[in-house]
């Protein structure tokens, strides 16, 4: 699942993920992503932007981590927020990895391998 308010970014991340063999669903903010999960979507991994309208990425991570049934979802922030303190906040909230924008496709693949979501 690719969650980002920029359709350009959803396109770029979606293409990278499809290239790595994943099926991709998209959501333009945290609230719509939650709605998709509630209606049964169970992604292996969610790539989560931070700054989005309606519900931001940190709120999304908190919401997902509250639910037992969504525990298996790997959460990776992909955001321009790049202070150390912000990375710590996201990890503490339950994000597993963190990619700072801008990124290259290799960086996404590297992190997925690190998470064991992708064979190295």
């Amino acid at each position: 699942m690719v969650i980002d308010d920029s359709s350009a970014m959803r396109l770029i991340l979606g293409r990278i993920m499809r290239g790595l063999g994943f099926d991709v669903v998209e959501a333009p903010n945290g609230a719509e992503a939650i709605a998709r999960l509630q209606s049964g979507a169970m992604p292996e991994i969610a790539l989560v932007d931070w700054n989005m309208p309606v519900m931001d990425g940190l709120a999304f991570v908190n919401a997902v981590r509250k639910e037992e049934k969504w525990r298996q979802i790997t959460l990776m922030m992909v955001t321009t927020e790049s202070e150390q303190s912000q990375i710590v906040r996201a990890l503490a909230a339950g994000a597993h990895e963190y990619v700072i924008k801008p990124f290259t496709p290799d960086a996404i693949a590297d992190k997925l391998a690190l998470l064991g979501v992708l064979a190295y």
């Binding site: 700054n51 202070e83 801008p102």
Partner: protein, 151 residues
């Protein structure tokens, strides 16, 4: 005295964004002039918190179209307003977030806004600015600060 990113820092950040998403060529961005053509597009994000101000990405209309075309993998001639607004907004967001991390914190980043033409922020002034040239078109990145804070 708090550290304010230099014009060079703005350039480095912009270059990283451009290299990653638009060009792949670190030499694609060259030093440029501060006067874009008549028609301009500006992407902007605001900062509030320990630092109050804005980061703006102002470019010529053709540069905005090229950027949108590159991000969306389209022909520049097929790009619509929606794509230009989305692309400039996301570019401003990426540059802005990285600039924010160098400023005194904590500050919050606004969602981006994109306008046709120049954008003036009431009560704010430019504290850093770098002018670049990309595919022969002008691109100006600037950091603004509220006058009250700058004083």
């Amino acid at each position: 005295m708090t550290y304010i990113p230099s014009a060079d820092d703005l350039e480095v950040i912009t270059r990283e964004v451009w290299t990653s998403f638009l060009d792949g060529d670190p030499d694609g961005l060259l030093p440029g002039e501060t006067t874009p053509g008549a028609e301009e597009v500006t992407g902007c994000v605001h900062l509030s918190g320990a630092y109050v101000g804005s980061i703006m990405l102002r470019c010529s209309a053709p540069a905005a179209r090229y950027a949108a075309a590159a991000l969306f993998s389209m022909q520049p001639t097929d790009v619509t307003q929606n794509e230009v607004v989305d692309a400039l907004g996301e570019l401003a967001n990426m540059v802005g977030g990285n600039v924010k991390s160098m400023l005194p914190g904590p500050s919050a980043l606004s969602l981006p806004s994109v306008v046709h033409g120049q954008l003036a922020v009431p009560g704010a002034q430019v504290v850093r600015e770098v002018a670049l040239s990309w595919r022969g078109e002008t691109l100006v990145v600037s950091l603004w600060q509220q006058a009250a804070q700058a004083a």
